[in-house]
């Protein structure tokens, strides 16, 4: 069933298992004790950061499948993507598995897009078990989007820190505590922000647009959710989102949480918090799903946000188009 841009899943596909891997900096934060594997070495025993990112993603998928007590033959499709050019981490990670792969690119909102598509495939009866996964690595993202790691330049105070980590979940037709009830498809919004260091401000309008359409389509209000989670708006972006929502008559300041804002404990060079595809993937697949399974949160709205820019477009002075997909999750008790 569909209303507006929101898909309502009749069979309510379930999250059967989830796994997350995070880097050493992330380990210090709230998710450290909830992640399955934490790295002490950001190279993960590989020769390049790109290989390390690929290995994290591959291991997150492998772990999620194992935790679901399934084998490769039971999985119908892997929906995955990452931030690197030609989504190399995801497609290279897919080499390790015997199941089909659909590559996605939705920047930092890949996790919610993957969950949304997996739920749609299962609800449509085309799949039994799907894996949605994504990841990012600070060093590989830094090299692609910004400067070499060792370059001695200052980071502006609006900037965020790309999360080193990967997370994945098995979404299944039958078993699981957490149900995907409905999902709102995002629209690309661009309000003219050109500053690549201020992603929060660029992405906030997309998040606000998706959240408001979700509330309208589902006839709900922000108060109906235990938690409204956005991906990686950071502290500044979260504030802008709250303002934008408040202006339209929705008050989300009570239950809004931003993965980027909470992921790091020490505010040293991270400034506004974490970002990257791995940010929401790690937080959702460790802390949030664990707490939902434990019954702490019953109804959660997860809207990851993505900035769809490239170094070419920002070099040519283009503004930053952004997107946000929302997934509503409910826990059985």
């Amino acid at each position: 069933m569909k209303k507006g841009n929101t898909l309502f899943f009749e069979t309510q596909p379930k999250i059967r298992s989830y796994a997350a891997i995070c880097g050493s900096k992330e380990k210090e934060g709230v998710i450290g004790s909830y992640a399955d594997i934490t790295l002490s070495d950001d190279m993960y025993g590989e020769s390049t950061y790109e290989k390390a990112e690929c290995k994290m993603l591959s291991n997150a998928v492998r772990l999620a499948v194992e935790k679901a007590a399934l084998t490769d033959a039971d999985i119908d499709v892997l929906l995955s993507g990452d931030l690197l050019n030609q989504i190399i981490s995801a497609s290279f990670a897919a080499r390790d598995f015997q199941f089909p792969f659909l590559g996605l690119y939705s920047a930092c909102s890949t996790m919610s897009e993957g969950m949304l598509l997996a739920a749609a495939l299962i609800d449509g009866g085309f799949a039994e078990n799907c894996v949605a996964a994504t990841g990012s690595h600070f060093a590989s993202a830094e090299r692609q989007y910004r400067y070499p790691l060792e370059l001695g330049c200052t980071r502006p105070p609006q900037s965020q820190w790309t999360v080193t980590g990967a997370g994945g979940c098995v979404i299944s037709a039958d078993k699981g505590d957490i149900r995907i009830v409905n999902a709102t498809l995002g629209r690309v919004r661009d309000w003219g922000v050109t500053d690549v260091n201020n992603m929060g401000a660029a992405m906030a309008p997309a998040a606000a647009d998706t959240l408001m359409r979700h509330f309208k389509d589902t006839d709900t209000l922000p108060e109906d959710y235990d938690m409204i989670i956005t991906g990686d708006l950071g502290a500044l972006g979260s504030r802008i989102l709250k303002d934008l929502m408040w202006e339209k008559g929705y008050s989300i300041s009570e239950n809004h949480v931003d993965c980027g804002e909470i992921i790091y404990k020490v505010i040293e060079d991270e400034f506004q918090g974490g970002s990257g595809a791995g940010c929401s993937a790690v937080v959702m697949n460790s802390y949030v799903f664990t707490k939902m399974s434990a019954g702490l949160y019953k109804r959660v709205l997860f809207a990851a946000t993505g900035a769809l820019l490239s170094t070419v477009s920002s070099g040519q002075g283009e503004s930053i188009p952004c997107i946000s997909h929302a997934v509503q999750l409910e826990a059985d008790l």
Binding site: R143, Y147, L149, L151, G152, C153, T154, W191, D243, F271
Partner: protein
């Protein structure tokens, strides 16, 4: 406030975002740039005195001091220390010759994974290239002006 309904919604939004920008600490930045930049120059001056004492003079002396500072810049970059200094010192560690060494060494290290020819050698000047081009260009420009004066 953000004026989404207004005709000039983008303009209003950008104005609102700008007003939320966390302020850059100009005074503190200037102070640390002055301190660190001054320290680098003092170290250079120390080597200059030492080499002068050892018997070097003129262009040889200036060249030798530069070479030592470039070496130290490259070494600290390789050890992963220079970017930490640069994060706090800003222009103080970018402007001296050590900053130039850092801007050449850091991409050389970073792109080593793509091979020594297409990685290290080809990408070495991705950042420093701009400095070289415009450095030479402004040198030529000033030279022409000087010629006619």
């Amino acid at each position: 406030m953000t004026g989404k309904n207004a005709q000039n919604c983008n303009e209003n939004y950008l104005k609102y975002v700008k007003q939320l920008d966390p302020p850059t600490k100009h005074f503190k930045n200037c102070l640390s740039a002055f301190g660190v930049g001054g320290l680098i120059c003092t170290i250079g001056q120390f080597f200059r005195f030492m080499l002068e004492y050892a018997g070097l003079s003129g262009d040889e002396l200036a060249g030798a001091v530069s070479v030592i500072l470039i070496f130290l810049g490259c070494l600290l970059t390789g050890l992963g220390v220079y970017d930490r200094i640069g994060r706090h010192a800003g222009a103080g560690s970018i402007v001296p010759i050590t900053g130039f060494a850092n801007s050449v060494t850091s991409p050389a290290l970073e792109f080593k994974t793509e091979g020594y020819i297409y990685g290290t050698a080809a990408k070495m000047f991705t950042i420093a290239g701009a400095i070289i081009v415009y450095g030479v260009f402004s040198g030529v420009l000033v030279g022409i002006i000087y010629y006619f004066l």
